[in-house]
Amino acid sequence: MARYISMRLIQLVVIIFLISVLAFLLVHLLPGDPTIAILGPNDTPSARAELLRQLGLNRALPLQYWTWISHVIRGNLGSSFLTKQPVTNAIAVAFPIDLELIVVSQLMAFVIAIPLALIASRRPNRLFDRLATTSTFGMLSLPTFVIAVLLVLVFAVKIHAFPATGFTRISQGFGSNLRSVLLPSIALAVGSVAVYYRLLRADLISTLQEDFVTMARAKGLSTPYILLRHALRPSSFSLLAGAGISIGSLFTGAFVVEVLFQLPGIGYQLVTAINSRDYLMVQGMALVAAIAYVIINFIIDFLLTVLDPRVRHA
C-alpha cells in the first residue's frame, strides 16, 4: 500500500514537472519577438527589457526555465498586460465560481440519477427502465453547449424564469447567487445524470442477482429496503469512480457554460484572455488549471484505492 502510494506520488511529481515545462515552452510557440507579442507593439523599451529579464528570454533554455519556475514557485505568474492585475489574483477570484458550478451540478446529478437507477433496476427491461435508458442514451449525444443553449432558449427567452446571463456573488445574497448558477448547473448536470444513471443501473442489476439479495428476499424484506440497504452500497463503486473520472470533463464543460452565461470563472477568464492575446494570463491559468486537474485526479484515485479493498489488493 505504502509502496503503491509512493509510486503514484512520484508519477504525480513527474507529470507536474512536465506540465510546467510545456507551459513554459508555450511562449516559444509565439511567432516573432515574444515581448512584442506579449506587450503589444506600443509598449516602452524599458517595459520590454523588464519582461525580457523576468522571462529570462536572452539566456539558454534550461536557465530560462529555471528563472521562470523560481518566479512561479514564489507565486509570481506575471501580470496581465491589459489590466496589470497579477495572474494569481485573477485565478483566486475566478476559481470559486468553477467550484460552485461543479458542486451544485454534481449534487443535482446524484439526486436525479440515483433514484432513477433504483427504480429502473427493480424491473430491468420493463417500461420505466427502457424509457430511462433510452433517454439517457440520447442525453449522451447532447454536448453541454447544445444543452445550455436549449435551456436558455426555453427558460430564459421563452418563459423568463431565470436570468440568461450574469453572476451574483454569494456575498451579495445567497438566493440570487443560487438563481444565477441554477441554469448553468442544470446544463452541466444533464450529461452527468446520464453517465451516473447508466453506471449505477448496470451495477445494481448485477448486485440484485447475488445470493445475499436472494437471501434477503427469502427473509421477506421489502424490495425498497433491499434496494436501499443491501444493494446500493456494494453497487456504488463504479458510480464513485465515474464521478471522479468525469471531473475532468466537467471542468472543461464548465468553460462553455461560463462563457454562455457570462459567469467570470476560470473558463470565461481564459477565453477572454485568449481573445485579447493576454499571453501571460493564458499561460498562468493553463498552468494552474492543468496542475489542479492532475492533483484532483490523483486524490480521487487515492480515495478509490482506500475505499475499495479489491483495488488495494489487486
Binding site: L142, G253, V282, D308
Partner: protein
C-alpha cells in the same frame, strides 16, 4: 457526455477486477458507462438466444447510412445546388424555413442549410481526420506494445499516461492560442490528444489476445512477428478498436463544437457547427430567430447519436464473440 462533453483525462492505473480495460482510455466517461450495460444485457439473456447470434440490427444500418449521407453532403457541398454560405441577402433576413431557403436564413440573410453543410466540413474533417491519424499512429504502436512489449513498450505506455494527464480541451485551447490555428493544426492537435487513448485500448485488447492458442500456434509454425500482428492479432483487435474509434470521432466533434462555440476553432468567416450556434445566441438572436441555433444543434445531436449507437452495437457484437471464445 458532455464535456461532459465532454473529452477528457488522466486514467487511473487501478481498476476493479470487473471493469473492462477499454475504460482506461476513456476520454469521456461515456465510454466507461456504455460498456457495462451491454454486458449486463448479454448476461441476463432474457431473449434466450445464444449470444453469438447478436445481429447488428436495422438501427445500426440506418445510423451508418445517416453518417455516410452527411459525409457525402460535406464532400459534395460545392457541387450541390446550394446557395453560397457567405452570401448575405439583405432582402431575406431572418426568414423561417421556406421552399426557397429550406432551413431559413440567419440575421445576415445567409442560407442556413448551406451554412450547416459547409460548417459540417470542419467538424467532420477534424472528427474523422484526427481519429484516423490517431488510429494509424496510436493503434500501430498499441499493437506493437501489446504484443512485443519490452522496454519500448514500457516507454510508450508511460508516454501515453503523460499525454492523458492533460485535460484535452484546455490543452488544445491554450496551445492554439500561442501556436495559431488552422484546420491542419487543429486536426493534428486532436490526433495527438486521441492517439494515447486508442493506444491504450488496442494495447489492452492485444495483451488479452496475445496468448490465445492460435497465436501460439502461429508462433510455433515460425511465423514472423509482423505476420502474426497483421494476420492473427489485428482482425481480433479491430472490432474493439473501431467501436472505440467511433466514440473518439463523436468526442472530437463535441470538442471541436465547444471550441467553435467559444470562438476558438477555425477563424470566422468560415462556418462551423459550433460557431453557427454561437451566432444564434449573439445579438438577441435567440429571441428573434431561434432557428439559427436550433438547426445546427439538431445536426450535432443526430450525428452524435448515430455514432454512439453504431459504437454500442459494434461493441455488443464484439463482446458476444468474446463470450464464444
Amino acid at each position: 457526455m458532455p464535456d461532459g462533453m465532454p473529452v477528457v483525462t488522466s486514467r487511473s492505473t487501478t481498476r476493479a477486477p470487473g471493469t473492462l480495460v477499454a475504460a482506461d482510455a476513456g476520454s469521456e466517461a461515456v465510454i466507461e458507462i456504455e460498456r457495462l450495460p451491454a454486458r449486463v444485457d448479454g448476461a441476463s439473456g432474457a431473449e434466450g438466444q445464444s449470444p453469438t447470434k447478436a445481429k447488428m440490427g436495422a438501427l445500426f444500418w440506418v445510423c451508418l447510412a445517416w453518417v455516410a449521407l452527411m459525409v457525402l453532403l460535406a464532400i459534395g457541398a460545392s457541387v450541390l445546388p446550394l446557395k453560397s454560405p457567405t452570401f448575405q441577402d439583405y432582402s431575406a433576413v431572418n426568414v423561417g424555413p421556406t421552399l426557397h431557403h429550406l432551413l431559413g436564413t440567419d440575421d445576415l440573410g445567409r442560407d442556413l442549410l448551406s451554412r450547416i453543410i459547409y460548417g459540417s466540413r470542419v467538424s467532420l474533417v477534424i472528427g474523422f481526420g484526427s481519429i484516423a491519424l490517431a488510429m494509424l499512429t496510436g493503434g500501430t504502436l498499441g499493437l506493437f506494445a501489446g504484443y512485443r512489449g519490452g522496454p519500448a513498450g514500457t516507454v510508450l505506455n508511460a508516454g501515453s499516461f503523460v499525454i492523458l494527464a492533460f485535460p484535452p480541451l484546455l490543452a488544445i485551447m491554450v496551445i492554439e492560442a500561442f501556436w495559431g490555428r488552422s484546420l491542419f493544426k487543429l486536426t493534428l492537435m486532436f490526433a495527438i490528444v486521441a492517439a494515447p487513448q486508442l493506444f491504450r485500448v488496442i494495447r489492452a485488447t492485444t495483451l488479452a489476445t496475445a496468448n490465445r492458442e492460435y497465436v501460439i500456434a502461429a508462433r510455433a509454425f515460425g511465423s514472423k512477428t509482423g505476420r502474426i500482428m497483421l494476420r492473427e492479432l489485428l482482425p481480433n483487435v479491430l472490432p474493439a478498436a473501431i467501436s472505440f474509434a467511433l466514440i473518439g470521432v463523436a468526442v472530437a466533434i463535441i470538442v471541436e463544437g465547444s471550441l467553435a462555440f467559444l470562438g476558438l476553432s477555425i477563424t470566422l468567416p468560415t462556418a462551423s457547427l459550433g460557431n453557427i450556434i454561437n451566432e444564434g445566441v449573439q445579438n438577441n438572436n435567440l429571441q428573434i430567430n431561434f432557428y439559427i441555433a436550433l438547426w445546427p444543434s439538431i445536426y450535432i445531436f443526430m450525428i452524435l447519436s448515430s455514432l454512439n449507437l453504431m459504437a454500442d452495437r459494434l461493441r455488443s457484437r464484439f463482446e458476444a464473440r468474446e463470450v464464444k471464445l
